[in-house]
């Protein structure tokens, strides 16, 4: 049963935009992507240069010590035993070999331990660094980016992709390097022990190279696909867990399961392709190794037979040969993790390379204390290229004024609010605060000055007090409670089982919708901005609560700039000025009572609203 992905997901304006700009699929950008990934890797490793040098030194020491083993065995057999046999009882050589062996063993033990601990530390530090960088970058990216990238993908990047990098870091990289080193040094020893046999061994190299080349190409593609497939699984998972009420209430379970099975199976298939590659690659390496060993055995036996080499040399050679091909197995394994981690790193590099479309200014204008004088000058705005929402808007809101914006759904009220809060930048024209273009303000200055409350009022899991304190993290408990009291939320909060310390759970689910809205209000009041934007922020409140909020607003908004968007005209009454918006244009502008008297659109709206009250 296959679910047609397109049919249920629907068509979006830019499906490709779910990728970051850096991950477009064409050949040229793949090359660019690799370069970016390498740069990212470089910048991750650079701070640990010194530690990495120590790591490599430890690794070399460990490798040397490990290599000494078989050679000492050879010495023991070829040089240690003859003096003991045939009546001569001379153990000095054997004792010397034993001592050397003991030293080698202790060295190997100590270096291995030091190496593992240190490289583990470095690996964790790199992961921490990468996590923070990616997280911070996501936070810096615009709302528009998040709207198309979706939270599920953000989660995928920061969980599953990190997992695959961490897998490489804690399981692999050391063995990768170690195995590589041991292959090289064994090759040298082999040459030194018996070069004709070594040359025979080296005949296997071209095969190994060709195999590896093939694997690298194929697996890079395969792992890229697994990263995309797992992201889809995560997106679907996160979304269905988030909307479980709707899922249950509308018996969505079977259909959801069908879709999940499809994405889950897709992920399985992607993984299978990748795993089959390594399942072919690794035994092929083994095959090459085994054939080589058999050939060398025969050839070496032949040479020993003709006295061209010693038996001890043959034994040592074969031992080393195992040491040569065994790590190749590991090498292939870790090559595999590396490919998987690289695919993940590519995704992360893509995210990190995504430029914030609402960037912070390079040379910001300071605005320590905003007065709240807002001006929109010739503002033109369209969300995604196509339809223009605001065509040319001029608007001046002097500081301290409370402006109500009314108009039909889709008129562009929220868009104005979002422009003033700089969720987006206008395509043309400017939005200024106290004469400073918002694009020239630091995020800190802007956010201190402008705060927006919407009907979405997202709450974070954590206590009620923490959620209110989100408005101003340095606020004390008393200030938090004062803010709650001011908008009439104090009573219900105190009635909660643990009062202000009650955990509101994910997305504030522990509270009723109206209660959430009150907390969101308290949060905004505590922030105490110069410009407050309320976008249908009271829609879930009952009339008495709304009235309380209204009363609070009257005092609070007295000395600050406010934009109030509401379809309940009761909210509008506190405004000094009303704007009626239609299709992105201001069609009426004036004090509320003046507009009522003028008998225009607002008067009609007002009448409709009055009628709805009875």
């Amino acid at each position: 049963m296959s679910v047609d992905l397109k049919a249920w997901r629907g068509v979006a304006p830019d499906d490709d935009a779910e990728r970051t700009a850096a991950e477009a699929a064409d050949e040229a950008s793949v090359v660019r992507l690799r370069a970016r990934t390498r740069r990212l890797l470089g910048s991750l490793l650079r701070p640990h240069r010194r530690a990495l040098r120590v790591v490599v030194a430890l690794l070399l020491a460990q490798n040397a010590a490990a290599m000494a083993g078989p050679y000492l065995v050879k010495l023991g057999i070829d040089r240690g035993i003859p003096p003991l046999s045939g009546g001569r009882d001379d153990p000095t050589v054997l004792v010397a070999v034993a001592v050397a062996f003991a030293v080698a063993i202790v060295t190997e033990f100590a270096t291995k331990r030091g190496f593992l601990a240190l490289s583990g530390r470095v690996g964790q530090a790199i992961l921490l660094d990468l996590r923070r960088r990616v997280y911070d970058h996501f936070q810096r990216l615009s709302v528009a980016f998040h709207e198309r990238y979706t939270s599920g993908r953000v989660v995928a990047r920061l969980t599953s992709d990190m997992d695959s990098i961490s897998e490489l870091l804690d399981g692999g990289i050391e063995d990768l390097v170690l195995a590589g080193l041991s292959v090289i040094s064994v090759a040298a020893i082999l040459l030194w022990l018996d070069w004709p046999m070594a040359l025979v061994t080296m005949a296997s190299f071209p095969f190994l190279l060709i195999l590896s080349r093939w694997f690298q190409r194929a697996s890079a593609r395969a792992y890229r696909r697994t990263r995309e497939a797992v992201a889809l699984v995560i997106v679907h998972f996160v979304e269905s867990m988030g909307g479980m009420r709707a899922v249950h209430a509308f018996r969505r379970e079977p259909r959801n399961q069908e879709i999940f099975d499809a994405v889950n199976d897709d992920y399985r298939a992607a993984n299978l392709t990748a795993n089959r590659l390594i399942a072919t690659y690794s035994p092929s390496i083994k095959l090459v190794g085994n054939v080589t060993i058999a050939v060398v055995l025969t050839y070496g036996g032949y040479r020993a037979l003709h006295g061209q080499t010693e038996v001890g040399v043959l034994a040592a050679f074969l031992l080393y040969l195992r040491r040569f091909f065994e790590p190749m197995q590991e090498l292939s394994q870790f090559y595999n993790s590396l490919q998987s981690a690289t695919a993940a790193l590519e995704k992360l590099a893509g995210v990190l390379d995504e430029p914030p479309s609402v960037p912070e200014p390079a040379r910001p204008e300071p605005l320590p204390a905003a007065r709240g004088d807002l001006r929109l000058d010739g503002v033109r705005f369209a969300y995604r290229g196509e339809r223009v929402v605001l065509s040319r808007l001029d608007l001046h809101i002097p500081s301290g004024q409370t402006v109500a914006v009314v108009g039909a759904t889709g008129a562009g009220k929220s868009t104005i609010a979002k422009l003033v809060a700089r969720f987006y930048d206008p395509s043309e024209g400017t939005v200024t605060l106290d004469g400073v273009d918002l694009r020239d303000l630091t995020d800190d200055d802007l956010r201190r000055a402008v705060v927006m409350v919407t009907q979405e009022n997202f709450l974070f899991s954590g206590t009620v007090a923490d959620n209110i304190r989100f408005g101003r993290p340095d606020a004390g408990r008393q200030e938090v409670e004062d803010a709650a009291r001011a908008i009439g939320a104090d009573a219900f909060i105190r009635a909660l089982p643990e009062g202000y310390d009650t955990d509101v759970r994910k997305r504030g689910g522990r509270l009723s919708a109206g209660q959430r809205q009150l907390v969101a209000f308290a949060r905004a009041f505590l922030a105490d901005p110069a410009v407050l934007i309320l976008d249908e922020a009271t829609s879930s409140l009952d009339i008495p609560s709304e009235r309380l909020v209204q009363r609070a607003l009257r005092t609070i908004l007295a000395d600050r700039t406010a934009i109030v968007i509401a379809h309940r005209l009761s909210t509008v009454e506190i405004a000094d000025r009303v704007l009626v918006l239609d299709a992105g244009r201001v069609v009426e502008d004036g004090p509320p009572d003046g507009l009522v008297a003028d008998g225009g659109r607002y008067a009609t709206l007002h009448q409709e609203w009055r009628d709805s009250l009875v």
Partner: protein
């Protein structure tokens, strides 16, 4: 899991055979050294060389077969477990999802399952194979020369004690790590979903610091895990090396005594070297196994949670057509799981077939809780709710939720096409039905979207306005003509004009449908035949709007806009005059 068990057996056989082939090679080496080389037998050498070649090819082939099938079966198992987990999560009640952070659920469905898969595809096999190799090699060593063989066998004792200590420590550390990763995933999800709030308050750095704390905790656990690994793995390296050194010394003495041939010692040592990797890998396998065990623990924590809202065996299958829609609440009591005080103490209500009853009450009085009980999103803790005299718990869930249509106060839209969002579970909804539902909700705007009904509405429908989302949610509720409608504050985000239009269309639907309607506004109350006032967890008054307005002061307080608003309306008019 059955079919996988069979495969597993085959895999073990293949793996064992491959390892066996690998073990035999050193014996061939011994033959070569002791036989042809010593006796100058060239043909014997060729035969043995061919044997080594054959063994090598067989080994590689067996490994190939094992890995090829193994990846399929381990991935199949992982996918199946993930599917079961998802299916189970969908069965678990809302109360469960209220409590569990989705990041924790997600980390179980992804990281934990892949840890388990990795163990199944490598760890488990190698645990068996390596133990087998170890035992076989030691047995062979004892057979070759028993005094040295016993020496090698004795090295198992320290190995065992090292792994035992390691196992205990590591188990705890991996659990901590996986839980911390789950918390981190939760934080990531929250800050992606709450990005607007974070931006609007400029709390990027605040959130960043919180995330950094979480990431730092993961880091610390990771570092302490690395330290454990360093300790243990280096010991796993040390023990076989020490044994090898002892064997060499003792072996040399034995050779000099003539108790052992030179070729015998060479074979012994080269066979013993075969132990290095299995023992080395043991450290990795144990770590992997511990991680898989904690992961399995975490997954089974969820899988072992019994769904509490399920069909009982005798539950009836009823089609909406056979339902009149007589809804009764009989002494209903409800408390959220874990809460001390109930939200609803004693609710008695009788909604006659086709009647529309408005539920009115202050913010937080329990209206949403009350209506959630009808489609059994939660189960009552006392009393019962019946539809046509039958307890809702006696309906099959699939029937009940088909009979009852719901619109939540916060409309949830999924990142799917409009059509899919409307139909949700009803994939059989016809275009005509969808058109009709959209008309009722006055949601014609969907036809103006770039791809009409096929347009994907973004995550949580965020690129639609609140009013648009609410109308889609309403359309979804009325789609397919449920017999009982539960509408929780369905018009709160609409402007007055649209609200009037929706009310008009909705009134026609409500005529033939039993409905529970949570409302805040007098205008919406007009849709209802009667109104019930929810106050202090009880229904304190039922009657028509004007009756209650006249006789019940609490009702007046909650619903009457007149006092404040109209008087200020007068002010407006006076100002205008």
């Amino acid at each position: 899991m059955r079919p996988y068990l069979n495969q597993m057996v085959w895999l073990l056989i293949a793996a064992g055979a491959a390892t066996g082939a690998g073990i035999v090679v050193p014996l061939v080496v011994r033959r070569v050294v002791d036989g042809p080389v010593r006796h100058g037998d060239a043909t014997g050498l060729l035969t043995l060389g061919a044997l080594a070649l054959a063994l090598g090819v067989v080994e590689a082939l067996l490994i190939f077969i094992r890995r090829w099938t193994q990846s399929a079966s381990a991935l199949g198992m992982e996918a199946e477990l993930r599917r079961d987990l998802y299916a189970h999560l969908q069965r678990l009640p809302i109360a469960f999802h209220d409590r569990w952070q989705s990041g924790q659920l997600l980390s179980r469905a992804t990281s934990d399952l892949s840890v388990i898969r990795r163990f199944l595809s490598f760890g488990l096999i190698f645990l068996v194979v390596n133990t087998g190799t170890y035992v076989t090699v030691v047995a062979l060593l004892i057979h070759l020369y028993w005094p040295l063989g016993l020496l090698v066998a004795a090295s198992a004792v320290p190995l065992f004690s090292v792994s035992k200590r390691f196992t205990q420590q590591y188990f705890k550390a991996s659990r901590t790590m996986q839980d911390q990763l789950g918390d981190l995933a939760t934080q990531v999800e929250e800050s992606a979903q709450g990005i607007r709030v974070i931006k609007s308050f400029g709390r990027r750095r605040h959130q960043g610091a919180r995330f950094a704390d979480g990431a730092r905790r993961v880091h610390d656990t990771g570092v302490s895990k690395a330290r454990m690994l360093a300790n243990t793995w280096s010991q796993f390296d040390l023990i076989p090396n020490v044994t090898l050194a002892l064997v060499l010394v003792v072996g040399a003495l034995e050779v000099s005594r003539g108790a052992l041939s030179l070729g015998g010692l060479v074979a012994f040592v080269s066979l013993q070297v075969m132990l290095v990797w299995p023992i080395d890998a043991l450290g990795w396998i144990i770590a992997n196994g511990q991680e898989a065990m904690t992961a399995a623990d975490r997954v089974y924590e969820v899988l072992d949670t019994e769904p509490s809202i399920v069909d009982h065996p005798a539950a009836a299958v009823v089609t909406p057509r056979d339902v009149e829609g007589h809804v009764r609440f009989e002494g209903v009591r409800f408390a959220y799981p874990g809460a001390q005080t109930p939200v609803l103490h004693r609710v008695d209500l009788d909604v006659r077939p086709g009647e529309t009853l408005a539920v009115v009450g202050a913010t937080g009085s329990g209206k949403t809780s009350l209506v959630s009980l009808v489609p059994r999103l939660y189960d009552v803790t006392g009393g019962r709710i019946t539809i046509d005299g039958r307890d809702v718990r006696d309906y099959r869930l699939s029937s009940l939720r088909r009979i009852v249509g719901v619109a939540f106060e916060e409309p949830t839209l999924f990142s799917m096409s409009v059509r899919e969002n409307l139909a949700l579970g009803r994939s059989d909804a016809s275009d005509a039905e969808i058109t009709e539902a959209l008309a009722v909700a006055q949601a014609d705007f969907v036809y103006d979207l770039p791809w009409g009904l096929d347009t994907r509405v973004g995550e949580q429908g965020l690129s639609l306005s609140g009013g648009q989302r609410q109308r889609l949610a309403l359309a979804r509720a009325v789609l397919g003509k449920p017999r009982v409608l539960v509408l929780d504050d369905p018009l709160s985000a609409l402007d007055v004009h649209t609200e009037a239009l929706v009310e008009e269309a909705l009134a026609r639907v409500l005529k033939g449908t039993t409905a529970l309607l949570v409302v805040h506004r007098p205008s919406t109350v007009a849709l209802a035949d009667r109104v019930a006032l929810l106050y202090d967890g009880e229904i304190t008054a039922v009657g028509t709007h004007s009756e209650l307005l006249a006789t019940v002061p609490e009702y007046r307080a909650v619903l009457s806009a007149s006092t404040d608003a109209v008087s200020s309306g007068h002010l407006l008019e006076e100002g205008a005059a």
